[in-house]
């Protein structure tokens, strides 16, 4: 087993406000192999974006890392000072944000924003910078003539691609993407996903891809992490989660909430209720109030992450020392 590129141990993030300290991310453990595509899925407020920004050391007050370590290239990033971090940033790991419209500086042209990045980490001449910028734009399918245009002059899809091009300036080992496709229509989304997968395989960088829409990463990611209320609910190979029903009731509910575009039509139930208030997390399993397969002990005992085959799941049904009431999975039965 090659040593992991990124090791996250017990990472927790607090939002400090006058009224309460909200633990948005609760002791997450994660290993990422070089060149691996990890999808992180979860609904609004589950802490997925906070986790990624915590890994990238990009948290702004009132968010602060409360505990845990993020070991990347052998160094614990949480301990590094801003100056030390500055050398690693973008050269070894880069970030692509959700809405490229306000992630690009409206006052500077695309070329200028590439230039200051390259100059911050290398001593390339003007010509080399121009050439490298044109090259990464071509890689993502944008005509280098757009180098001199400004963000507001590009279409949504092109801005998103320019962001990805910027992330690849130094072909880093790790790219963190926070919902880069949510602002795009389905056709543009698919073409961007194809391109991201192609680039990842060609350039070999590891990728953490955050999205609220499970179907987006279902065909692209190697492994999938489902997050709920600040905790990892399930983590495992993507195909495992789709070919047979997922282990965690929440992942199952999430998957079943998708209306299918092909094949037989099935009634959707969705997941009633709302996620818990993270300022006062419930004692037992955080999904218990909304869980169709909840058992009495779920309300008192907080489940840990149990290993089931290649996956891990935070649910007492798989705790081994608990005999789950044999209930047929209602949807599996009538699969024609």
């Amino acid at each position: 087993m090659p040593s992991p590129l990124l090791e996250v141990r017990g990472l927790s993030v607090d939002y400090i406000t006058e009224t309460a300290n909200v633990r948005a991310v609760d002791s997450v453990d994660l290993d990422l192999m070089p060149g691996e595509f990890l999808g992180i899925v979860g609904e609004s407020g589950c802490g997925k974006s906070t986790l990624v920004f915590a890994i990238a050391q990009l948290l702004f007050p009132p968010a602060e890392i409360a505990a845990g370590s993020v070991t990347f290239q052998g160094k614990d990033m949480v301990q590094l000072s801003d100056a030390e971090l500055r050398h690693v940033r973008w050269r070894d790991y880069s970030v692509v944000m959700q809405s490229a419209m306000n992630a690009l500086n409206p006052m500077k042209s695309i070329a200028a924003q590439f230039k200051d990045t390259l100059q911050a980490h290398s001593t390339m001449t003007k010509a080399e910078i121009r050439e490298r910028s044109a090259e990464v734009l071509r890689v993502v399918g944008i005509d280098p003539a757009h180098l001199d245009s400004y963000p507001h002059q590009l279409s949504g899809g092109m801005r998103q691609r320019a962001m990805i091009a910027m992330a690849l300036l130094f072909t880093p080992q790790l790219v963190l993407m926070d919902e880069p496709t949510s602002a795009l229509d389905v056709v543009a989304q698919r073409s961007l996903m194809n391109q991201v997968k192609e680039l990842q395989q060609k350039l070999g960088f590891a990728l953490i891809f955050v999205t609220h829409d499970m179907s987006v990463v279902s065909h692209y990611s190697d492994r999938l992490m489902v997050m709920y209320a600040g905790q990892v609910a399930e983590l495992g190979p993507t195909r495992a989660m789709f070919e047979h029903p997922p282990l965690h009731p929440y992942s199952k509910g999430l998957l079943d909430a998708f209306p299918s575009i092909r094949g037989p039509r099935r009634a959707l139930t969705g997941i009633p209720g709302t996620p818990p208030d993270l300022a006062r997390p419930p004692a037992g399993c955080r999904f218990e109030p909304r869980c169709p397969e909840a058992m009495p002990q779920c309300a008192e005992r907080a489940p840990d992450l149990y290993t089931v085959g290649p996956s891990q799941v935070r649910c007492l049904l798989h705790a081994g020392d608990v005999s789950p009431a044999p209930r047929p999975d209602p949807l599996a039965v009538q699969q024609p």
């Binding site: 400090i16 602060e64 890392i65 409360a66 505990a67 370590s69």
Partner: protein, 312 residues
């Protein structure tokens, strides 16, 4: 005398909309919690009491010639006397009333004008918007004090009402522009279109659907305008304009300056007392304005970082 420029970025409206609850309940809560607001409010209440019942604070007639010329503060004359022997302290107390009236009336009228023009421009759009915005820009560019002085000069002897009119005519533009900006960002909100689809009349939409959501900015602007009015009205009277026979802090400053109160041999308290009184009233409104700025846009709140970076 620069008017404070509270900028409430339209993006702040989103925060306010998400958090807004029933307007009155939240305000009293917000004010109580906010130290600055509480300080401003207490000061204002104090000034209003003095304005309402000056006789509680001084028995002497502010106009009566009692002591010697420009005597320094003493047991009998707490703040000394004017060049004609009048008691500076009682003038200060009696001057509160008119100063507060001018400030609040001018501030209120200017606020009203700015709300009407700002909201109308934002909501009606099209040509009305262009015309009203042009009018606002013109009044913003024309320097206010010179225009004010000219109007006051032409209206000499017309008394306080003329001063208030001049103050309002020159003071409304800045807050009109801010209200228009917030109004425009509100226009894109769906709940206004929902009201139109329900079949509501435009007047109802402005009065019931738009104005309540803008209350914190309207109040902040009123406070800002009042701070501006206190200083500007005093400035005019200091220059000897308006009705100099009335007892206000401004006229006190005028006579004090003219009779060399600050130069050796004069009674400096004759000028310092009304001066600091004006500052006090201005500060009361300024702090309330600042507090409402923060209520409207919590991101602006200044805070001390409490926890150092946690050790691993």
């Amino acid at each position: 005398m620069a008017a404070p420029a509270p900028t409430l970025a339209p993006s702040a409206v989103a925060a306010e909309l998400r958090r807004g609850s029933d307007a009155l309940g939240r305000f009293t809560g917000a004010i109580a919690r906010n130290r600055k607001a509480a300080f401003g409010l207490v000061l204002l209440l104090l000034l209003s009491v003095v304005a309402a019942a000056p006789q509680l604070f001084t028995g002497r007639d502010p106009q009566a010639l009692l002591g010697g010329s420009q005597q320094l503060p003493s047991g009998t004359y707490w703040l000394g006397t004017t060049n004609t022997g009048q008691d500076v302290y009682s003038q200060l107390i009696w001057g509160t009333r008119l100063t507060l009236i001018i400030t609040v009336v001018a501030g209120g009228l200017a606020s009203f004008v700015s709300v009407v023009i700002g909201v109308a421009a934002a909501y009606l759009g099209g040509w009305t918007d262009r015309l009203l915005s042009l009018l606002t820009d013109v009044f913003l560019i024309i320097p206010t004090l010179p225009l004010l002085i000219i109007m006051a000069a032409y209206l000499t002897g017309a008394g306080t009402d003329a001063i208030i009119l001049a103050l309002v005519v020159t003071g409304w533009a800045f807050s009109a522009r801010q209200l228009r900006a917030q109004g425009l960002s509100l226009r894109t909100r769906d709940f206004l279109e929902a009201a139109r689809v329900r079949g509501e009349r435009p007047f109802y939409i402005i009065m019931v659907e738009i104005l309540p959501t803008m209350t914190s900015l309207i109040v902040a602007n009123f406070m800002g305008l009042s701070t501006y009015m206190v200083a500007t009205a005093a400035g005019l009277q200091y220059l000897g304009l308006g009705n100099t026979s009335e007892v206000t802090w401004g006229t006190m400053l005028h006579y004090a300056e003219e009779n060399g109160a600050i130069f050796p041999g004069g009674n400096p308290f004759w000028v310092l007392a009304p001066g600091f009184a004006v500052v006090l009233m201005g500060a009361a409104f300024a702090f309330l304005n600042y507090a409402f700025d923060e209520i409207g846009n919590p991101a602006l709140r200044s805070f001390r970082r409490r926890r150092a970076k946690p050790a691993a």
